[in-house]
Amino acid sequence: MERNHRFIIGAAIIVVAVAYLVYTGIRETSVYYLTIDEFLARREAVAGEGLRVAGRVASKSMDWNPATLDLKFRLANFEENDGVDVAYNGVLPDMFAEGRDVIVEGTYVGGESFHARTLLTACPSKYEAEVAKN
């Protein structure tokens, strides 16, 4: 019986270690994941926090300087009647274009301004394609 106890302790140490790593990992690395509507509704509350916001690149809002790699665009809701201005520096992802759904990762610094560190484009999945209509 005592042997078994020792094993339960040994196994428990691993289980606790995994739980601890998962717990601290989530505390230290998690970011809020909001849709653009959720973000717009509570933007002041989440200012300065790590954020991921999913929205749409508003049409005719893209300002891209290929020399400095500065990108500005408006991340809008689907109706394109509200949004936030996003500033990003870096290479454009292949799928990035006006009217596309994107996820921006970064911080909201207040006012109309969101600083994006990463741009993720939701690539049209292989399971979904638009059929060429003729």
Partner: protein, 666 residues
């Protein structure tokens, strides 16, 4: 022609249901004729699914754009290999492909076991056919591969350009073989639970199938990583995306099972644990399919809502309820007969290895579904990215690497001081020296230092095993060293094949650790003639070229590469523009050596200013990840190659069970 495909699917669905009913009824009522009939039905289902797949393949090849599927995933300019790959490039096609592999394996299992496992087989048939019926029902009622367009398209939308890569040709089939392969041990586990025959037989019968599934899961994961590395252009190979995690988790639990099952074979312990691992592995394959199809968890791959999610949830929950019920019902028969004696024993080492593997799987699972959970509990989606997975899994992975060195050489039951000294003093010393030397050399990334130190420890234990075994054969048999080594491996394939796999694992660890700890990254926007300096490399932007073919147009930057001043290569990172999808893609230029990879991406090019943005990655030792993968393949082939001894063990196990049964009847 197309009607034949539709009809074949419907008939296959009916045939599958018939097979389930006759198999269970035949087993319960002890009517062998019914059981035989269910087996024949399973063969017929296979033939029907194959017919349907051929019809779809034909439609793709003759470019029948009146079919929605063909028009969505191929085009008239798509080359033949990718046209064939379009068979599994889309939703409905991939489900059909899945059903095809599953029924094909079901046929193989039935042929293998015509004369064997008469008690288990009806339930195996029923289980496999249940899974088949689920996929067929999706194909018949929800997402048909043979839907016609209202107006035939004149041209197809083409296969997603990201999938037009040779790794993508073999990555999905490999992963499917792995996923579907997990159904076979699962089916035998269910049959063992249903019949109460929970001895050695079902495990020995499915051992090769489990290895087969593990093999393809391994290959599938590595190919997927390789594809991401070459095609996605961000310089890495693994992003902890839900889709990647979906393939990684069953691999982990399958690995755990392959290890703990040895304890059951040798010591008749951990029966319950093994059963749980087999069932868990299968559930994780279904869960993984669900993840990639449902859009529940947002992935960079963004597998949008396809409406299949709820079906998978219901199927998965049904399976879980059934197997939990079966396990609870049979819990008394799943008690092991022995206990672990000592912490310092192989049994204990394997147990800890299992806990670590499942710990990694759990952490990965938790991180993957955390957004869903946090939304349900707190009403707000909180997501974790790669930092979470790296932070949690890196220490667990290193502990696992340590166990890789300990497990195979520590003695069974209770290790003596002599065994420990003999097996571990030299490797531990070597590992320690490695750590001290690289630390003194100025490495300050502690994960990398520990990883390299542990790697040399593990390699030393394995090398000593080979060395001692060879020497022993030389002394005992008088064989010359090369022959002794070959015989050593040939006569103990499981053991030494396993060591070879471990060498591959160590190589992969080394590649991952070095390329994550010491990677260099640089991004510069430059004019023609400008240079970029990254590490030892000097890169000069010479020129830009434009080409145009039917399928896509492209631009290639010509980059002259010098290393420490000496010219070593000219590289051409490329940006393609696929015309059908109006989509640019990145074609990486890669110069790969055993020391490091130089990885160039043409970020963007501006016509007006002539400015080109070049992204440069230097990934040290990353090649060892792929080499490690190949070594793992080699090792698995050694382990899987059949030996007479193993056949005898299976026959003996079957005989023991028959005798036990006769005794019980008397």
């Amino acid at each position: 022609m197309v009607e034949i495909g539709v009809l074949a699917l419907r008939l296959a669905l009916i045939g599958g249901l018939y097979a389930i009913l006759t198999a269970i009824w035949g087993a319960q009522a002890r009517r062998p004729a019914l059981v035989r009939s269910s087996r024949s039905a399973a063969y017929v289902v296979h033939a029907l699914v194959a017919t349907s797949a051929l019809v779809l393949l034909r439609a793709l090849i003759i470019r029948d754009f009146s079919l929605e599927y063909v028009a969505s995933y191929s085009s008239s300019t798509l080359s033949l290999p990718y046209t064939i790959a379009a068979l599994w490039g889309g939703q409905a096609g991939s489900l059909l492909f899945w059903a095809l592999i599953l029924t094909c394996m079901s046929t193989m299992v039935h042929l293998q076991n015509r004369e064997r496992n008469a008690a288990l087989m009806p339930y195996v048939t029923a289980t496999l056919m249940t899974i088949t019926v689920f996929f067929l029902a999706l194909l018949v009622f929800v997402t048909g591969p043979f839907e016609r367009l209202p107006v035939p398209a004149s041209e197809g939308a083409d296969l997603n350009p990201l999938l037009q890569n040779y790794w993508m040709m073999i990555h999905p089939p490999s992963l499917y073989l792995g996923y579907v392969g997990c159904s076979i041990p699962f089916a035998f586990a269910v049959a063992a639970l249903a019949t109460g025959r929970l001895g050695d037989v079902w495990i020995r019968t499915t051992r090769r199938w489990t290895l087969f599934a593990w093999f393809f899961l391994t290959v599938g994961n590595i190919l997927g990583a390789r594809w991401a590395y070459e095609e996605l252009g961000w310089g890495g190979y693994w992003a902890w995306d839900p889709v990647e995690n979906a393939a990684f988790m069953p691999w982990l639990s399958c690995t755990a099972f392959l290890h703990s099952v040895m304890i059951q074979e040798k010591k008749n312990m951990l029966k319950m644990w093994n059963m749980v691992l087999v069932l868990l592995t299968f559930c994780l394959t279904i869960f993984g399919t669900f993840l990639t199809r449902s859009g529940v968890v947002s992935s960079v791959h963004s597998f949008t809502q396809s409406g299949l999610g709820p079906f998978f949830v219901v199927f998965l929950l049904t399976i879980i309820v059934i197997v939990v019920g079966l396990v609870t019902w049979r819990r008394d028969l799943l008690r092991g007969e022995n206990e672990i004696d000592s912490f310092l024993s192989r049994e204990a080492a394997f147990l800890f290895n299992n806990l670590l593997l499942i710990g990694i799987a759990f952490a990965t699972f938790w991180g993957t579904i955390f957004p869903v959970i946090s939304e349900a509990v707190r009403g707000i989606k909180i997501t974790v990215g790669p930092p979470f997975f790296n932070k949690v899994n890196a220490p667990l992975g290193l502990a696992l690497l340590f166990m890789t060195g300990v497990g195979p050489v520590i003695a069974w039951r209770r290790a003596s001081a002599r065994n420990l000294r003999r097996s571990f003093i030299v490797p531990l010393a070597l590992g320690f020296v490695t750590g001290v030397v690289i630390f003194a050399a100025g490495w300050r990334n502690y994960y990398a230092v520990v990883c390299f130190s542990l790697s040399s420890f593990v390699l030393a234990t394995i090398f000593m095993e080979f060395y001692r075994g060879t020497r022993a054969r030389q002394a005992l048999m008088g064989e010359p060293a090369p022959r002794a080594l070959a015989n050593l491996i040939g006569k103990n394939r499981r053991r030494y094949g396993g060591y070879v796999i471990h060498v591959g694992i160590v190589m992969a660890f080394v590649g991952v650790a070095a390329s994550s700890a010491f990677r260099l990254e640089e991004q510069k926007t430059i004019h023609k003639g400008d240079t970029v300096q990254v590490g030892a490399f000097t890169l000069t932007y010479k020129d830009i070229h434009f080409t145009d073919v039917a399928h896509y147009s492209s631009m290639l930057a010509e980059i002259e590469v010098k290393k420490n001043g000496a010219s070593v290569a000219t590289m051409f990172p490329e940006k393609r523009f696929y015309k059908k999808q109006q989509q640019p893609t990145t074609e990486v230029a890669l110069r790969s050596t055993l020391i490091e990879d130089l990885y160039l991406v043409l970020g963007s090019y501006d016509d007006k200013s002539g400015l080109m943005t070049l992204i440069v990655f230097v990934n040290p030792l990353v090649n060892w990840l792929w080499i490690g993968g190949m070594v793992m393949v080699l090792g698995t082939v050694i382990v899987m190659s059949p030996t007479a001894a193993e056949q005898r063990a299976l026959v003996a196990a079957l005989a023991v069970e028959e005798r036990g049964l006769e005794a019980a009847l008397r």
